[in-house]
Every structure is written in C-alpha cells, then in structure tokens.
Subunit: 303 residues, 2 copies
C-alpha cells in the first residue's frame, strides 16, 4: 500500500490541471466529460482461478462505478489488457468483456492488448469515459450537519471473497457480489444533483467515509447498526463483529454520499448511516453505545 | 504476436460501435473526441535499464503519436501504472511523467497506480484524450493513385535500440530517437484536412504502409531510396541493406499518409515515398530496380 500512497503523493505534484481534481476524486472532470482509469492485477485484485468472464465483468464494473459516483452516463470504454498465452482463458475473457459491455450498456471503443512475459500476472486496465448529467459531485463537498447515506448494501463482496477462497461457507449470492459487482449508474445519475459529496465504496465503508470526511475538511459519525446489509450477509452474522467486518471489507461498489436536504425521485431507497460532524476523524456507535474504531478501517491491497 | 492478433480478432467481434472504427485505426473517434490507449511492458516494449524518465516520456509520446495521426489536439492523459517497490525508480518515473506532460503540453488528469506482485515486470498503460480539429483521417481512406508520404525520419529508433543494447556503436542522437520519440502533433493537425488516409509508423514503415494499403483495399509501391533517413542514421550506412533495416525497424513515430492533391501550409516537408496501386500487397524498388520484399516487414513484439 505504501507504494500506491507514495506514488499518489508524487503524482499529485504533477497533476495540477483543475480537471484532475488533485487526484482526490473518483474521476477526472474535463468540461462535461468524466474520465476514470482503474487497473486490476491477477493475484492482487482478482484470484488466478476466478472465472475469466467474471474478471472481465469486474474490470468494466469497477470503472463504471466511478462514473456512477459522479452521476455520469457511460459513453465508452478503452481496455489495456496484458494477458498470458492461455488462449482458452483469453477467449472466455473477451466473451465476458462483450457480455459485460452489453449488460452494462457501454460500448468498447478501443485499447491495446499485449502478451505479458512468461510468469507475469495478467494485468488489466480500463478507461471509462462518461458524460456528466449536471453538476459533478466531488468527495470534498460535504459540510458539518450533512446526513451520510449509503445506496446499495455493504459487506457482501468481502464475505463472497472469503467464500470464494474457501475460508468459510456461505450463500452463492455473496460470491456473485464479489465477482459481479453492479455499478449503481441510474442511482448515481438521480443523486448527482441532490448530494453535497459522493464517492463509490471500494475499499470499505469506514475508510471511504473517512476519506470523504477528510476531503470535505470535517469528521464523520456512523451508526454501525444503520449500515445496510443484505439478507445473505445477515444470514452469516448480525452482531457487532459481523457488522464491523462488513464495514471494513472492500469491493462493495455501493454509493456513499452526503446531503443537506431530503432526497427525492430515486430509483431505490438509500440508507442514512450517520452524519458529518465538526470533530475530525471517525466516530462509531451502535444500539449498545460507542464502538471502538478498529485499527484496520478497510481493505488495503497487499503489495 | 499471435496472442495479440488472436485477441484483436476476437475483440473486433465485440467492438461494434462505429466509434471503435472496427479496432482498425490508431484511435477511437467518438463525436469530436479522439481516444487511444497503449501499453508498454518492461522487457517487451522497454528495457529494464532504460532511464525511468525516458520510459515515462515514451509512455506519453507513443499515445500522443496516435492522436497526431488523427490530427487531434491532446486534452489530457490518464495513466495506469503497475510499478515495483523500487522507490527511486518510481520517483524518477513520476518526475519524468511530469516533464513529458509539460514538454508535450498535455495535462495528467488521473489514473491508477498499483504495486505489481514480486518479480512481475513494470506494466504501464496510458489513455490519451484529444479533440479533433476537423475530419479525422482513417487508415482506410486511401485510393489507387494517391501519393504516399512520410513526415519525420525512419530507422533512427531501431538503430538507437541496437546502440542502447550494446549491439553496435552509433551516435547518441539515435538512442534519443529510441528513448524520446517526438509525436508530430502540429504536423498531424496541419495534415488532417489534406490527407486521404493517415497513421503513425510504430512497427516499421513497410508493415505499416501495407496495413494502410490493406485497410484501404489497395496495394502500395514504395521507393526505398525515397524513405527519409536522418544524417545520424545515414552515417551508419546508406546502402540497400541499411535502408531495408530502417524500413523494417519499429518505434519511429513518424506519420505515414496518402494524398491525392499537393500539400500546403505544413510546418515541415513530408517526403513522397511511393503511391497506392491497384495490385494488392507491397512492391519495393530503389534506384537499382525492384527490391525483393523482405520476409519480416516490421518489428513484431516477442511474447
């Protein structure tokens, strides 16, 4: 993780164009274009035995989730795929890419394909280009008193990863949440004009909420019991430990946002989980009272 | 190379949106946006001991060269950088990225940084976004009788790579041509409205000319003696073998284009090297008569 943080700090020094938003946001905003590029690397962001079509889905979905968090309509994607000589894997990956692009209604516009040297992991990048539907919310727009919301559910993908890795038994729906995240594009577009700040939850709701608060120059208080969890996740535990596990797991691709006003005309019902507060940092509580903030707030990539 | 060709064939099956141009062009063209993404992988597209700032330059330059070939003005770039834990290399790379972005006048808008697993090669991708300045030339617009031109010089980078690898002695200018290619943005913009077809030369002028001809449904005849070479390259040889070597080397990032009319108002003088002909395939000649077409027409990535 240190590498990514070190690099990001250095990159911020050169990404001085306002469209880069200081590399502090989910995406760049250039006029009405919203642009994002995320990479996934075998052994780091996906498992070597994950089905290739699911890897392709994830590559598209995680990038469209960044567009969702900015309320943008996807215009197209470009891929950068470093693959191995496993022709069967590659064919299944391309089929999956086409299926994901169809299902998520975004055209593949171009990109590059390279053969990785022998022994190197598959290394996949994708650039998603979207068009803003109005003002593009930043992470940094929250203010003290704003309510904090989640659209989507939290913790499914983290449990699904544990199931996929054979660490625990659990419903297949959780594995699907890990392998086939659904970018909340319609919700993001409906929310964009109503929020003060918005981002997608990719590393865990606690760490991402703290990032939103810090970007906004405030603190955040979260009611652990209010964090929305699916029936499948709740079937594996609903106590404080289970809720903390969900709130610190990654790969949710839910939307996390703040608003000062009542929400309206949405395709679903977001859950209010807390609010922005004056005191810096993160305060946690549940029905039983204050909850000690865990040392590890989210999923940090090993590397 | 088979991997890339196989994959490209499959990807063409799913990239059916007109903006993708059938994945047959240097870039995607979506309205007035021109979009390209190229990857470079350590050990495949650059040498492990290439200076990091030069690697960063190349990453930016090869993508801007694709925009140049479409006559586009660069709006910004997004990077996808898979790096190792060599902090000194990484810092020099980011410095070089900033310097390249400054020198080539394109802002860094965003991207992603990941730590590659231990032992994996650095894997770098970049998306360049440009705005068209008028009609965007394709590779496929050439017609029988059009003159074929090169803007820039051919063969320097191939010789520079050989010098950098210690395979031969030669002027430093050639190594710089390999490490610091100059995208011909101004020339591309001036040409875009005057050409019938245009592309950049990345894999060798013979193979790329054949690609342009095939995309246009015609053949091509090239006068080997007319291919522009630099004084530095000519200092290492000017006979037919040297010219064939230059014409089949990669990484030139010159512009290759066709036109039916005299050219005007250009920032430099392109060289007429041949013309499009009815007979399919490639015909080569020089002052001494017909030249047998070499088996290897360009630089194909090993992998």
């Amino acid at each position: 993780m240190t590498l990514e943080i070190d690099l990001l700090t250095q990159l911020r020094g050169i990404a001085t164009h306002p469209a880069a938003r200081g590399l502090m946001d989910d995406a760049a905003v250039l006029g009405d274009l919203v642009l994002t590029h995320d990479m996934i690397v075998e052994g780091v962001h996906f498992l070597p035995d994950d089905p290739p079509a699911d890897v392709a889905w994830k590559l598209v979905a995680v990038n469209l989730s960044d567009l969702a968090a900015k309320g943008a309509v996807p215009l197209g994607v470009l891929t950068g795929t470093g693959l191995t000589h496993d022709a069967q894997w590659n064919a299944a990956f391309v089929d999956g890419l086409g299926a994901a692009a169809d299902a998520l209604n975004v055209p593949l516009l171009g990109g590059d394909t390279v053969a990785m040297p022998a022994g190197a992991p598959r290394t996949l990048g994708l650039t998603a280009i979207g068009r803003a539907t109005g003002p593009v919310p930043a992470r940094s727009g929250g203010a003290v008193g704003d309510a904090l919301y989640i659209a989507g559910t939290i913790g499914d993908a983290g449990l699904g990863l544990a199931v996929a890795m054979g660490q625990m038994a659990g419903p297949e729906a959780l594995v699907m949440a890990y392998r086939r995240p659904q970018p909340l594009l319609e919700m993001g577009q409906a929310l964009a004009g109503q929020v003060t700040a918005m981002m997608d939850v990719s590393d865990g709701v606690l760490i991402d909420a703290l990032r939103l608060a810090e970007a906004s120059g405030v603190g955040v208080a979260i009611d652990l019991d209010a964090i929305p969890m699916s029936e499948a996740a709740l079937s594996l535990g609903r106590d404080r430990a289970a809720r903390l596990r969900a709130a610190t797991a990654g790969d949710d691709y839910a939307l996390l946002f703040t608003s000062a006003l009542p929400l309206r005309d949405l395709p679903g019902r977001p859950h209010r989980i807390g609010q922005l507060v004056r005191a810096p940092g993160l305060q946690l509580s549940d029905g039983a009272g204050p909850v000690p903030v865990p040392a590890r707030l989210g999923w940090l990539h090993q590397g």
